[in-house]
Amino acid sequence: MKAIGWVQRLTPFDRKLLIVVAVLVALSFLLPLSQSVGARVIVSSDDRVIFVAPLNKEQRIELEGPLGITVLQIENGSARIVSSPCPHKICIGMGKVSHTGDLLACLPNHLVIRIEGDSAGEDAEYDFIVR
């Protein structure tokens, strides 16, 4: 592809439009990266929330699933899965999560662990919810 030859096929308006669009696209890369550090861990089993805890308190939680017990460790403002009865241990390999919207999942054990941010949700008044 010749370096500048193709630009001649663009009308002057096209070139201005392209520059504006290029800037917008570049900006769109910055938006998700300005994510805030999460505030809460929300654990759900089969889309049903079974556990909520703040990220700042260090604790070790045992989560019950169809395959057995998955152990979740919350420390240093992040959460990670320490042990799980699944065959491939992918959830343990996912490592630590700490930003809003981050996800840990142990699919064989039907567990999804999400990090939620500071914005007040319906569970903001509760420290723990066990159902």
């Binding site: 193709w6 096929r9 663009l10 009308t11 002057p12 308006f13 096209d14 439009l17 392209l18 669009v21 290029a22 917008l24 696209v25 769109s28 890369f29 938006l31 998700p32 919207g101 996800l103």
Partner: protein, 197 residues
């Protein structure tokens, strides 16, 4: 040049229908081949069929754009066996947003915008529409929007590529006598004095 006994307006109308049908056929062919090509990145399609939609737009106007585009989506997915499947909904959603943006852009900046500009608008619209449908129908998780920047970047580049191809096609077509009348209309439209203060 042509030995037709029909009156010029009739002839133009017939030509329009024939060419639109050809454009749709070509668009479907490109769409089908593109989907069958091996691609390391799923869902990152260049959208070559849009080249024909753009050609229809700049030759016959906004209605032609919609005819070619919607027909391509319907017939293409019918041929690929994905009619009314989630993939079809994604294609349709993307196509609708893309067409709306392209019609808007073409109408708003009638004589200033070229095929590349409209193509980029269409590509961005298509990608956004697809993510929108994917978010609403397939994966109801807001994290899907994390993919948007990468899709937008790919759409920008493929939009430029498609636009250049359409521009090349249009300039080649205008040299053919069958498009002589259209070229005349374009020239008249382009040389109209602007009524701006």
């Amino acid at each position: 040049m042509t030995s037709s006994s029909a009156s010029p307006p009739e002839l133009e109308e017939v030509r329009r229908r024939v060419f639109l049908a050809l454009f749709v056929a070509l668009a479907v062919a490109l769409h089908t081949v593109e989907v069958l090509l091996p691609n390391p990145l799923p869902w990152f399609r260049i959208g070559l069929a849009n080249i024909l939609a753009l050609t229809a737009l700049f030759s016959y106007g906004i209605q032609a754009l919609w005819i070619v585009s919607i027909s391509r989506i319907l017939i293409g997915s019918l041929l690929l066996g994905s009619l009314f499947s989630p993939g079809f909904l994604l294609s349709l959603g993307g196509g609708l947003v893309a067409n709306t943006l392209m019609s808007f852009g073409y109408k708003l900046w009638q004589n200033k915008i070229g095929p590349v500009g409209v193509s980029v608008l269409g590509a961005l619209g298509h990608v956004t529409g697809q993510l929108l449908i994917a978010w609403l129908v397939v994966i109801r998780h807001p994290s899907i929007w994390m993919l948007l920047p990468f899709f937008l970047l790919f759409a920008l580049i493929s939009g430029i590529v498609n636009g250049l191809a359409a521009d090349y096609l249009l300039t080649s077509l205008y040299k053919h006598p069958a498009f002589a009348r259209l070229k005349q209309n374009q020239d008249i439209a382009n040389s109209e004095p602007h009524l701006e203060p």
